[in-house]
């Protein structure tokens, strides 16, 4: 019997995993499908799928119900299993639970030092970077846009903290996993070579052709 188990988990378990083992320290606020990871029956973390934040389905010519996002891979320190194996099993369960889904999208944030190696190991298709943006940094810490707009939670809009500065960031690396053969064929037309270094120069989709965006200098390589 396998020592690794990937199975459905509760919101509480997923929340525990994200608050303890994911850099965002938060759960997606929208609908989720949550897979827990156990090694020798000890809880090791969670993989969380959710509705994409933006209209990701449009770039694939699909309906909103055909695309979801792999939003969190929150794992404790572990030995004996590979993250790509966890994601692979999670995708199988997801496909069985939500058979109408056709594409899973995920992002690796170079500003956090992430390159997306777990997706590369899982043979996901790399489609370039999302639109470049700018983030607020206060006392060296990144502040999420929602923290001061409050927009997503129906809170009143508040001013960003005094002394915070805007820092341009490159777009996030976008990886996609087709869930059927036709989709794979279609998505391969969008495929680009895998990025090799999180600190490498990346081309932001929202910039002028040829304009190059450098990753945040504080970025350091780490796995999610």
């Amino acid at each position: 019997m396998s020592r690794l188990k990937v199975d459905w988990c509760s919101h509480e378990a997923a929340k525990f995993a994200t608050t303890h083992w994911h850099y965002s320290r938060s759960m997606p606020v929208i609908k989720t499908v949550r897979l827990g990871v156990w090694w020798d029956d000890v809880f090791k973390g969670a993989v969380i799928f959710s509705r994409p934040c933006r209209n990701q389905h449009l770039m694939f010519g699909l309906q909103p119900t055909e695309v979801c996002e792999l939003g969190r891979v929150a794992l404790d320190r572990h030995e004996g299993f590979h993250v790509s194996a966890v994601i692979s099993r999670s995708l199988k369960k997801l496909r069985a639970r939500c058979p109408k889904l056709r594409v899973v999208v995920s992002f690796a944030d170079p500003a956090e030092g992430h390159l997306g190696r777990i997706y590369q190991a899982g043979n996901w298709i790399y489609t370039g970077t999302s639109e470049a943006a700018r983030i607020l940094v206060h006392r060296g810490k990144r502040i999420h846009r929602r923290n001061y707009t409050g927009a997503a939670f129906g809170r009143p809009r508040v001013a960003p903290p005094q002394g915070s500065v805007w820092v341009p960031t490159p777009g996030k690396h976008r990886y996609v996993m087709p869930l059927d053969r036709r989709m794979r064929k279609a998505l391969l037309l969008l495929a680009k070579p895998y990025p090799k270094s999180a600190g490498a120069l990346t081309e932001g989709a929202g910039h002028q052709p040829g304009e190059v965006v450098r990753s945040h200098p504080s970025a350091s390589e780490s796995s999610s």
């Binding site: 188990k5 199975d7 459905w8 988990c9 509760s10 919101h11 509480e12 378990a13 525990f16 608050t19 303890h20 609908k31 989720t32 499908v33 949550r34 827990g36 156990w38 000890v42 809880f43 799928f49 959710s50 509705r51 309906q63 909103p64 119900t65 055909e66 979801c68 404790d76 997801l94 639970r97 939500c98 058979p99 109408k100 889904l101």
Partner: protein, 180 residues
């Protein structure tokens, strides 16, 4: 002072006991005591009793330091708390009230030492709930992970279906039907 027993107050503080009804919370207190803070103070008072006195101005018996303790004691139904009286003018009283809170706030935890101490207390079956951390925080400090068990697939959302969006006026589902 009353002659009722003050079993919840440390022996040497008992001569300083005042009726809680005689004390006035500082109306200008800049320090708030949200629910979680009060629950933590209540848990501490219940477990350990009162071990240090409040600081109260002679004039008006207004509490300078220990407003949270007074509120928690009232919530616990205590009739008395120990307090020392000081003859401060309003400016000194305000200055001390702020300094008392701020100096405590500037202290930091040595998390490694704290974690070791908590583990020792846990091994001795001491109730860690009275220390002011939530279960999740304690798990993190102690490096332990709750024994989460797998759940049913029914607990998950349907990501391949849109939820009905009902019009508040006519009650009809306003979702746009997928093409094709």
């Amino acid at each position: 002072m009353s002659d009722v027993p003050f079993h919840q107050i440390a022996d040497q503080l008992q001569p300083l006991a005042f009726r809680v009804s005689d004390l006035t919370p500082d109306p200008a207190n800049a320090r708030r005591h949200p629910h979680r803070n009060l629950e933590a103070i209540k848990a501490s008072l219940s477990s350990y009793g009162q071990r240090k006195p409040l600081v109260v101005r002679c004039e008006g018996f207004v509490v300078e330091a220990g407003n949270g303790t007074l509120e928690a004691a009232k919530a616990l139904g205590w009739t008395h708390v120990a307090a020392v009286l000081v003859d401060d003018d309003p400016i000194t009283a305000t200055g001390y009230a702020i300094a008392d809170n701020r100096t405590a706030e500037l202290a930091e935890w040595d998390e490694q030492a704290l974690s070791a101490l908590l583990a020792e207390l846990q091994a001795e079956d001491l109730d860690l709930d009275a220390l002011g951390w939530s279960d999740d925080e304690l798990s993190q400090l102690l490096g332990s992970v709750p024994a989460f068990a797998p759940t049913s697939a029914d607990d998950q959302h349907d990501l391949d279906q849109l939820s009905p969006k009902l019009c508040p006026h006519c009650g009809k589902d306003t979702r746009v039907a997928p093409e094709g």
